[in-house]
């Protein structure tokens, strides 16, 4: 029974981290699907979100719901701004050029945060004060419940949005064939901006959940979850929405299991090792579609 409890607890931990990764991975995947680029700066949007929430609650002393909305708006606007300034001029450039620009953007956000807030971690008290519950001897902390509920709700809403609404089908159309979509009267620029805004808003939510879990804010806070979420997106097949969800949760569970039962220091190596193995077996990820290249 003890072993069962410990495994269940680790599984829940993994599910919690994994669903945060999945939220971030969704942003990577949507942007990749529509703009055919890896937004390396996505991880740092999480960091900006964390600082925005902190500033909203302390400097502006907003009530919690307003502060959360403020955070989401800041990140969405940032996402649009990044796209307009750095990526839009490079729509026709090589993918290498765009990737390097994205890396530059990520560095820019980190060093700006470093200059404004300095490298000292800012302690942050979790905004989630719900009590945990106990089911069949397994402790479920409040933060896990909230995280799972929030991420599930967001994922359902996002799936409905993409599949049922007009804006969602515009997004799918642009990601399938940008030129044809433009001919059908879809405003491509607006659709791309919208994708960046949604992706960054998801990153903001992920950032809030993330700092509730780790309770400290640093300028490089977004780097590791960013890379992990990116790995999750690639794992699930980049460009695929269900793939990002599956990849994120799988990654979280692998990570927490290897932290608990193999070695804390090797956990990262195992996570990346899983990525390498899966990509070698299935180069387009778990749920990704392999495109045949035309000459």
């Amino acid at each position: 029974m003890n072993l069962f409890q410990s495994i269940m607890e680790q599984l829940l931990n993994g599910l919690r981290t994994g669903s945060i990764y999945a939220l971030i991975a969704l942003g990577y995947s949507m942007v990749y699907g529509i703009a055919k680029m890896i937004n390396f700066a996505h991880g740092d949007v999480i960091m900006v979100g964390a600082y925005a929430l902190f500033m909203g609650m302390t400097a502006l002393s907003l009530p919690l719901p307003v502060a959360i909305i403020f955070t989401i708006v800041v990140c969405a606007v940032l996402g649009i701004a990044i796209e307009k300034v750095a990526y839009k001029p490079l729509r026709n450039a090589s993918s290498l050029a765009v990737l390097i620009t994205a890396i530059g953007m990520s560095f820019l956000l980190q060093s700006l945060a470093l200059i404004i807030f300095s490298a000292t971690p800012i302690p942050f008290k979790s905004i989630i004060s719900m009590k945990g519950i106990k089911i069949a001897g397994v402790d479920i902390p409040g933060i896990t419940i909230i995280t799972l509920v929030v991420t599930t709700a967001i994922m359902v809403a996002l799936t409905l949005f993409i599949n049922k609404t007009k804006a969602g089908s515009a997004m799918r159309a642009v990601s399938e064939d940008r030129g044809a979509a433009a001919l059908m009267g879809i405003n491509v620029n607006r659709t791309i901006s919208m994708t960046f805004a949604i992706g960054s808003a998801l990153a903001a939510v992920a950032g809030i959940l993330y700092i509730c879990q780790y309770q400290s804010i640093t300028p490089t806070l977004g780097a590791l979850p960013g890379i992990k979420a990116f790995v999750a997106a690639v794992l699930g097949g980049i460009g695929s929405i269900p793939g990002a969800m599956v990849g994120g949760i799988l990654l979280g569970i692998v990570e927490s299991m290897s932290k608990a039962y193999i070695s804390t220091e090797l956990a990262d190596a195992i996570v990346f090792g899983v990525l390498v193995v899966i990509l070698l077996v299935k180069p387009s990820g778990l749920l990704g579609k392999l495109k045949a290249e035309k000459v």
Partner: protein, 326 residues
């Protein structure tokens, strides 16, 4: 072929003369005491960065693939070389040369290990897998015993400080000559053809896989050599020295110098090593400047602003000469 060889002779002589002149200048300044302690301690880091940038340029600039794990190869070389010189008990030069060769060879071996499987991947996927490999290397070094974990290796003999500048300089020149010759050779043209259009290259019978692995192995070898030189200059190495940021720093050098331009890499490596020392005290600003330069550079090159500038009538004519591969 004969004509081509003649064409290169003049340029080659000029390059050799420049290399020798720079060496004489540096040695004169060093021995004459014209360089401050700070400046002379920068000589070897410049050389290390030149080697790293030139070797990364082979993959990023000439093969056209982005790798984000170059620091991983550097760390493998650094650790392999340092462990050798710590545990071997031979005369200094013998030991150092063995360390250089072994460090490079071990890094090249890992380059092969990584190069073969990632052949199935291209572009973004390849970039992320090399990043993953870099991180795996870092965490494994952090865990295993012989590398002394997170504490790193101390007491590495200082064989490549500025007092032994000659050997470092020879290594740099050798690296440059080998890579330039490779790039201008038949193999080099094959590598460049893969960058320009791998489907076309494949269809004219170029073994794409073979040349990709070759580029990876050679690049890893020189990154390993650079790691050995780095370790024997600093004396202490830790796994965190060779993180993702180091890989990005090398990438910035290559991009700033111009992808596929060796001379550019050398100049950019020199400037970007000297610049932070000039801006001492503004270390936070350094990263900001790096980031802005990187973005500005890509926007300028990629968005067509460069073409418009060159074709506008305000652009001085003597700069319009088309530049080929160095």
């Amino acid at each position: 072929m004969k004509n081509e060889r003649n064409k290169f002779t003049k340029g080659k002589i000029i390059n050799i003369v420049i290399a020798v002149l720079i060496y004489i200048l540096i040695m004169a300044a060093l021995n004459g005491g014209m360089l401050s302690r700070q400046m002379s301690s920068l000589l070897v880091p410049i050389c290390v960065n030149v080697m790293l940038a030139v070797s990364l340029n082979l993959i990023t600039g000439f093969l056209g693939e982005l790798t984000l794990g170059h620091a991983g190869f550097m760390s493998i070389g650094a650790y392999a070389g340092s462990l050798l010189t710590i545990y071997l008990d031979l005369p200094m030069y013998v030991e150092f040369i063995i360390a250089i060769l072994v460090g490079g060879a071990v890094a090249a071996f890992f380059g092969f290990l990584i190069g073969v499987p990632v052949l199935r991947l291209r572009g973004d996927y390849l970039a992320i897998v090399t990043l993953a490999f870099g991180e795996i290397i870092k965490s494994v070094i952090n865990v295993i015993k012989i590398t002394n974990g997170a504490k790193g290796l101390n007491d590495i003999p200082s064989y490549s400080t500025f007092r032994n500048f000659t050997i470092v300089y020879i290594l740099v020149i050798l690296t440059i000559i080998l890579i330039v010759n490779l790039v201008n050779s038949r193999h080099g043209r094959a590598i460049r053809s893969i960058r320009d259009n791998y489907i076309a290259a494949e269809s004219v019978g170029i073994p794409v896989s073979k040349f990709k692995v070759m580029a990876f192995v050679i690049s890893a070898f020189f990154a390993g050599v650079a790691g050995v030189v780095y370790a024997h200059n600093v004396g202490i190495i830790k796994p965190t020295t060779f993180d993702y940021n180091k890989s990005i720093e090398i990438l910035v050098i290559v991009v700033l110098g111009g992808m596929g331009n060796i001379r550019g890499s050398i100049i950019a490596a020199t400037i970007l090593t000297l610049l932070p020392e000039m801006l001492r005290g503004a270390d936070n600003l350094r990263m900001l400047i790096y980031a802005i330069v990187l973005i500005a550079m890509m926007l300028f090159n990629g968005s067509g602003a460069k073409e418009r500038l060159i074709s506008s009538k305000y652009f001085p004519k003597f700069l319009k000469r088309q530049k080929g591969v160095e």
